[in-house]
């Protein structure tokens, strides 16, 4: 509701500019924004999945279950369930209402990425290491796994003239990334030989394949509308592709042609890209760079580089854009912190009094003729009260179809008060405009987080070595 009051020039800014905050909880390895944009899930190196509340920059919930680092996170559409995939070869579906594990699915190999079906919280697709991807149905207690093919669907002519060697090679391909389209009817999979397959979810057959590169496809992400796709591959090129509406029944996959819209690459330094992401409208593409401290932002109209987000002194791995605000979160590889970029909103001084106006330079003030006239108070009041005749509606709530509004039946995560006490390694520091007044509770605790070997010794000592800041606060 604040959109009608905020300066329209500020609202028009859609690209973040400066670092406005940091989140820290252990060493983060993967992040994902919730669909409503008020929570950020962060998977840690020690296997704990932490949910940050973006409004307060604090920890809202901790989910313990994985024993190795968390590889990927996926939210359900109503933000109630979270699917986390870990290096311990397990996928866990968490219910955020009480933090319980609804389902646990074990695999025989490591998992690259696991994504929940947009319409069905009990179905997900996972890309596995050196194995074929699987579509898992968790509705019953025993999960049912369906293997999905990775072999690309070649054109009619190619299939007829296929050699034995080619067929064998195609069969050996594995998929490195699998994502659902927003309708859930199709799965888009990228393989380790550079092919992109579109698989029909119901029939589990490849309906269309195209080869974008000869190198491994590292990551694929779609916009919320499903019409645009960005592909990151190990040949250091970020490709954007415009997709047709895949749910259109009139779409003929045999005649479909997917063309690369833009190829973004750094020709000067030949940087390779760690992670790519879209902004909510699909207009911007961000990518974090390998062995560099920058995040590149390109716009897709001209295909030009519009911004380089900087400010951290470390390499950034995963970069994610907020579902609808100009807000970017990225993980620092060395420290495991989550850095937050956003726009700076200056205070409008004209808001502090009804007759304040912001002007560029001094204005000579000319009084009106009647400015200092004394008018009888009663007349003014009577006149004012006379004008109060319009109908006023204080009850109807306009159904704003924006993703921020919580409707009546929506799931809201409960507010837990005992997070601080459960884990002593959290630290929240604010950087930037100095609006956060919280101090980091004792710098000595940092060494406990960074150095895993020392951590075991310190826990043996108890909390005596911890600086007193925290203890005093808790006793108060």
């Amino acid at each position: 509701m604040n959109l009608s009051l905020v300066d329209p020039f500020v609202l028009a800014q859609d690209c973040p500019e400066v670092i406005t905050g940091r989140l820290r909880s252990g060493h983060s390895t993967s992040i994902r924004f919730s669909h409503r944009g008020d929570l950020l899930a962060s998977g840690r190196h020690d296997g704990v999945a932490v949910i940050f509340d973006i409004e307060t920059n604090g920890v809202a919930r901790k989910l313990r279950g994985h024993t190795r680092q968390v590889q990927s996170l996926s939210w359900s559409m109503n933000d109630r369930y979270l699917l986390s995939a870990g290096q311990d070869w397990k996928c866990v579906l968490w219910d955020l209402k009480d933090g319980s594990r609804v389902r646990t699915v074990r695999f025989e190999t490591a998992i690259f990425i696991a994504e929940l079906h947009p319409k069905n919280d009990m179905v997900f697709v996972a890309a596995l290491f050196e194995d074929q991807p699987v579509l898992v149905d968790m509705s019953s207690d025993v999960p049912v796994k369906h293997t999905l093919p990775s072999a690309p669907r070649r054109s009619q002519i190619e299939r007829e003239n296929a050699t034995e060697k080619q067929v064998a090679q195609d069969a050996k391909q594995t998929s490195t990334v699998t994502v659902f389209t927003p309708s859930g009817d199709h799965i888009i999979a990228g393989t380790n030989k550079g092919w992109l397959n579109i698989i029909n979810t119901a029939t589990r057959e490849v309906q269309y394949s195209t080869r974008f590169t000869n190198n491994i496809i590292v990551f694929v992400r779609l916009t919320p509308s499903g019409r645009d796709m960005v592909i990151n591959s190990s040949d250091r090129i970020v490709r954007t592709v415009h997709l047709p509406d895949l749910s259109d029944p009139k779409l003929d996959f045999d005649t479909l042609q997917l063309e690369v819209e833009h190829k973004f690459q750094d020709l000067v330094n030949r940087l390779s890209w760690n992670h790519v992401s879209f902004n909510p409208s699909g207009e911007y593409v961000t990518a974090s760079t390998w062995m560099n401290h920058h995040i590149y932002v390109w716009e897709r109209g001209q295909g030009s580089l519009v911004k380089i987000l900087e400010g951290t002194k470390e390499e950034l791995s995963v970069v994610e854009w907020h579902p609808f605000r100009p807000f970017v979160a990225a993980i620092g590889v060395d420290s495991g912190r989550v850095w937050l970029w956003s726009i700076l909103q200056p205070q409008r001084w004209s808001a502090l009094a009804p007759d304040f106006v912001e002007v560029e330079e001094n204005v000579e003030y000319n009084e009106r003729e009647d400015e200092f006239d004394i008018q009888p108070l009663e007349e003014i009041h009577k006149r004012r009260l006379d004008q109060e005749d319009e109908e006023v509606d204080v009850l109807t709530i306009e159904p704003v179809k924006s993703t921020t509004e919580y409707e009546a039946g929506d799931f809201r995560m409960p507010v837990l008060l005992d997070i601080e006490a459960s884990d002593s390694e959290d630290e929240v520091v604010a950087v930037g405009a100095g609006q956060f007044r919280r101090k980091s509770p004792g710098t000595g605790r940092e060494w406990m987080n960074d150095d895993e070997t020392v951590a075991s010794e310190s826990t043996a000592n108890g909390t005596t070595s911890v600086p007193n800041g925290t203890k005093r606060r808790r006793a108060g």
């Binding site: 509701m1 604040n2 009608s4 009051l5 905020v6 008020d38 509340d53 409004e55 307060t56 920059n57 604090g58 920890v59 809202a60 909103q345 205070q347 409008r348 808001a351 502090l352 009094a353 009804p354 007759d355 108070l377 009663e378 003014i380 009041h381 009577k382 004012r384 009260l385 006379d386 109060e388 005749d389 319009e390 109908e391 006023v392 509606d393 204080v394 009850l395 109807t396 709530i397 306009e398 921020t404 509004e405 919580y406 809201r412 409960p414 507010v415 837990l416 008060l417 997070i419 601080e420 929240v428 609006q435 956060f436 007044r437 919280r438 606060r473 808790r474 108060g476």
Partner: protein, 401 residues
């Protein structure tokens, strides 16, 4: 002078209805007849002894304006797609006293219904907060722990936590089911904590204090997230809008300020010309209007979205010159779209006044308290009102047909 100021508008409305008794009924068939026979005026009239000569000139003009503002007409006409006529808009309400809850040893500062409607919380100058069952009025918990009188209470949206702000400069969170306080009090204010509000998601708490500042707290961490230098006088009241993006605050300097929760910046300032101290503010249920209580015996409804903000309604008829009185929005009538809104407010003469939002007519005056009524709240779903005042009692009123 106050009384003179408030009498002309009231009298004008009554005169218009009396003198034009027959014409409206003849002319506007579609208009519901009930608005032309308001029973309240008969009760009101004896109180108004004074007259002003100029009024008779104004009546026809006022009546003509009334006829032209037929927005209510069109709404009633368009509201019924089927042939049955819409139910007439009630002109009076009949809330009757149901329970009187004794227990506090000093005046009651605030009473609030819980969001799920099961409990009533009341805080008092006797340093305690009492939680009562909303249906039978049984005292469930008496929360003690504050070192000075408690001025403000706020329920969390899930009705499990109650926050209380006291003159001992602290805010405490209480677990409603166990009656135990949360171990960490919220420390930070330098003077009396005067008003509290939870954000709709329950993760933030905003508090206004006599130290002229506004603190936004992170509930989970019990720490100040943001401290806004909101006013130059003690902050009287605070409220969150229904989606949590805006905070409204008011102070003794007569200003009402609207703040952006995410950035902490002031987005709008509303001032009335007289700069009367504003003691309490509430957002309307749809978040588009702000209701403000001022110490000139007026309650004003402001539209803060359009332009620089303007006052669209002024409600008078109660007395408010010394104390911080607060109230609430309520609904009456049938199911939506035939549901109408009213405003309930306490008064220093011991009564509770209910006004219709659009027409500003007084729908009912509830009598019972023997001392100024400081706080009135309406039930979130049922037709019930709770009130508390300086006579140390909490009274529950229910609507009876």
């Amino acid at each position: 002078m106050d009384r003179r100021r408030e009498s002309p508008p009231k009298r004008r409305r009554e005169d218009e209805h009396d003198s034009d008794g027959s014409p409206p009924r003849k002319r506007s068939v579609s208009r519901s007849p009930s608005t032309d026979t308001p029973q309240y005026t008969i009760a009101e009239r004896p109180a108004r002894q004074y007259s002003r000569a100029g009024d008779s000139d104004d009546e026809p003009r006022h009546y003509r304006k009334r006829a032209s503002s037929s927005a209510s007409d069109s709404r009633r006409r368009s509201a019924s797609p089927h042939s049955s006529p819409p139910p007439p808009k009630p002109t009076t309400l009949s809330y009757l006293p149901v329970l009187i809850l004794h227990g506090h040893s000093k005046g009651v500062a605030q009473v609030k219904f819980s969001p799920d409607g099961h409990w009533i919380a009341s805080c008092s100058a006797d340093c305690t907060i009492k939680i009562w069952d909303a249906v039978i009025g049984k005292l469930e918990h008496s929360l003690e722990g504050h070192l000075a009188g408690v001025s403000a209470i706020a329920w969390s949206p899930d009705s499990r936590l109650l926050a209380s702000g006291s003159d001992d400069k602290t805010i405490r969170l209480w677990n409603v089911s166990t009656g135990q306080p949360h171990p960490t009090p919220f420390l930070g204010h330098h003077n009396y904590v005067y008003s509290l509000a939870f954000s709709p998601k329950g993760n933030m708490l905003v508090s206004g204090s006599y130290d002229e500042a506004l603190f936004v707290w992170d509930v989970r961490a019990a720490r100040v997230m943001r401290s806004l230098p909101a006013h130059s006088d003690p902050v009287g009241g605070v409220d969150f809008v229904r989606d949590g993006t805006l905070i409204v605050t008011c102070a003794n300097d007569g200003l009402i300020r609207v703040w952006d929760t995410a950035t902490g910046q002031c987005l709008r300032t509303l001032v009335h010309e007289d700069n009367a101290p504003v003691t309490s503010v509430r957002f309307s249920p749809n978040g588009k209007y702000i209701l403000a209580w001022t110490l000139d015996s007026c309650v004003r409804l402001w539209n803060y979205i359009d332009g620089k903000g303007k006052c669209v309604k002024t409600y008078q008829g109660h007395e408010n010159n010394k104390f911080s009185i607060s109230g609430a929005f309520g609904t009456y009538g049938a199911e939506p779209p035939h549901q109408y809104a009213f405003i309930a407010s306490g008064s220093e003469d011991g009564g509770i006044v209910l006004w219709d939002v659009s027409s500003k007519n007084v729908l009912q005056r509830l009598a019972g308290h023997s001392a100024p009524v400081l706080s009135v709240d309406t039930h979130p779903t049922e037709q019930a009102i709770v009130s508390g005042g300086l006579d140390k009692t909490v009274r529950i009123w229910r609507y009876k047909e």
